[in-house]
Symmetry: C2
Subunit: 369 residues, 2 copies
């Protein structure tokens, strides 16, 4: 059990703050921050900004230079031990003469998984692990889920009136929710590795499904300059090959992956209901495409299927304070339930007002079979 | 323009706190608190507890006794000037030798409406009005609405799943919302002068529609002893005379008023849709029955009609974090809307979690015709 001083806490808090600066851009890498302190002076600091660019430790070591000798490095995640797009950070810390490394948590990435810590210890560096671990885990929920389960974190977005309608009977739906709610959606898109939808939804709205910098909240724009915008990949279920190159979807920067049984960017088999297997798709997105975090914007059919297959980590529902009548189009469509114990149940994670609307974040409970 | 000291503010705040003790019991009278201070000493205080019992000023004067001479009385509402069930308080204050009266607000009751203040002034008592007026108005929203408009304050309660369903297709609905939400409903019932429902709802559930002290939140029980419970009147639309004496409704204390075109406790005519006129009913409830505050618990048909007639002051919706499917029974039923500008819109007054559920308080916006 390591003993940490209040100075250690301060330095790790600082490293966590630094890590957050990469929140929109590090995908598929984790957000990591690093502070190097010599005595009671910060001599270096850095964060990971973008895959392919230097890790947090490299920025901090560069800034510290000769002052790294005998210093303590605070890192929000175990330093890496493998040669990827950059040399291992554990080696860099050793070479720079760092005396002590404090990590908030081990890296569950099977390519690291304690080997960074071992490498440091073997070189005689004092290593302590577990300082502000919960706070550091919260930096990377999607990365950690992928590393720990082989599946991406899935957030499903729905929007409806207070009486659960997503459109009038004739399909009219512009606009149920407010501009502020739609800006909030932009903020979620900007954090995702990919946006999942269907060709039906894409074609109906000729949707771009991209991040529009001008629509991001000002507080986000301030820390995320327009020229740095990373567009999430668009993953579109298109079993019948309806997507065409003329659609707005293809007029934007950022990758588009079509999904079908064959002749698609991602080919997946069918599930027990003869639909494209969403489990197989998510396995592929996590393991082949290295996508940590999927944001789903689609219609009732895909939403229902995701929830029924228990593939949703968080349901984000925007409710407009409006009543449209039950002859409109329902949130998930008909479910054919006959007993109350069959209804889908959720725990509330967060409720708040977004502009004139309500946003509820829900965690699905296990389904009663 | 009166000038108030910080001591005046303190004393009126105290009077407002005292007034709140009557919140469950004063109907149809307003909540009123009174503090009598001599120099910097409180010599008397009181609040109005129940119609027919002494007013706040009487309690405070009794407690002050001889020390009322030359003292200042702080009252949250203008002292009354008329002989009702009790003699006028203005007269009592004069006789006791009160030197100065500070009222938070004039009483809009046409039987008072400034005459209490005039009576005091004519007797040589110094009178100041308007201290903490907004806070004092907030003690009596329903009483003030009735006095100022001749209509009661109407709160409509609805409960549904997150997708706006009030029951499955076969009618199963026990329980959509949690025990905590149902306790919250008890708290609202306890504050109402009357509960409005329909014979259909009453018969379907054999509902008592009463206040069950054991189901009130503990914080309410602590200030509202079981033997003091005032049962709101039950006002039941029963056009076809379906109610029978065997129903639970009639096995409880508290008045029941049936409503129909004829042969009922309250007879009202029909509206333009050949339904019982809700406007006429509310006029009668306010002016004949002196009911300030109506809490509505009913099905989709009455709820829809109240909203469409713009007779709802507040809509209180309990949303359970559940999805039941759009083949269930919708919040207001079908509305037949064809354009988005026709949807009913609301402003959000409050959102909060109640146990595992969400409670939203909404204020209807004027309907676009």
């Amino acid at each position: 059990m390591s003993v940490f001083t209040s100075y250690d806490f301060q330095m790790m808090s600082r490293a966590i703050s630094l890590a957050k600066r990469g929140i929109y851009t590090t995908s598929p890498n984790p957000n990591v921050g690093c502070v190097i302190a010599h005595g009671d002076t910060i001599v270096g600091e850095g964060y990971h900004a973008k895959a392919g660019e230097p890790h947090a430790e490299v920025h901090a070591l560069r800034m510290a230079g000769e002052q790294a000798k005998g210093a303590t490095a605070y890192v929000t995640l175990e330093p890496c031990s493998h040669y990827g797009r950059t040399p291992p950070c554990a080696e860099g810390l050793i070479k720079a003469g760092i005396r002590r490394v404090v990590c908030a948590m081990k890296d569950p990435n099977p390519q690291v998984a304690g080997r960074g810590i071992t490498m440091l210890s073997h070189a005689g560096v004092e290593v302590a692990v577990g300082l502000l671990e919960a706070e550091s885990r919260a930096l990377n929920p999607a990365f950690l889920k992928r590393m720990e389960t082989g599946r991406p974190l899935v957030q499903l977005k729905l929007a409806a009136s207070l009486d659960g309608q997503t459109a009038l009977a004739n399909g009219a739906s512009q606009w149920i929710t407010s501009q502020q709610a739609r800006q909030d959606v932009q903020h979620y898109r900007a954090q995702a590795c990919a946006i999942l939808s269907t060709s039906q939804t894409v074609i109906a709205d000729n949707a771009s499904l991209n991040v529009r910098w001008h629509d991001l909240p000002e507080s986000v724009q301030a820390q995320y300059p327009q020229d740095q915008v990373r567009q999430p990949a668009r993953v579109i279920l298109d079993r019948q090959h309806h997507l065409t190159a003329q659609l707005n979807l293809y007029q934007q920067s950022g990758a588009v992956f079509t999904v079908s049984e064959h002749d698609a960017d991602i080919c997946v088999g069918l599930d027990e209901h003869h639909q494209l297997s969403l489990k197989a798709l998510f396995d592929s997105l996590a393991n082949q495409q290295q996508l940590n975090h999927i944001w789903v914007e689609a219609g009732a059919t895909l939403a229902r299927s995701l929830l029924q297959h228990q593939l949703v980590d968080e349901l984000i529902v925007y409710l407009a304070p409006k009543i449209m009548g039950s002859d409109g189009r329902g949130l998930l469509g008909a479910l054919g339930l006959i007993e109350m114990h069959q209804v889908m149940e959720f725990d509330i994670k967060d409720i708040r007002q977004v502009g004139p609307d309500i946003r509820v974040i829900l965690i699905p409970k296990p389904i009663n079979e």
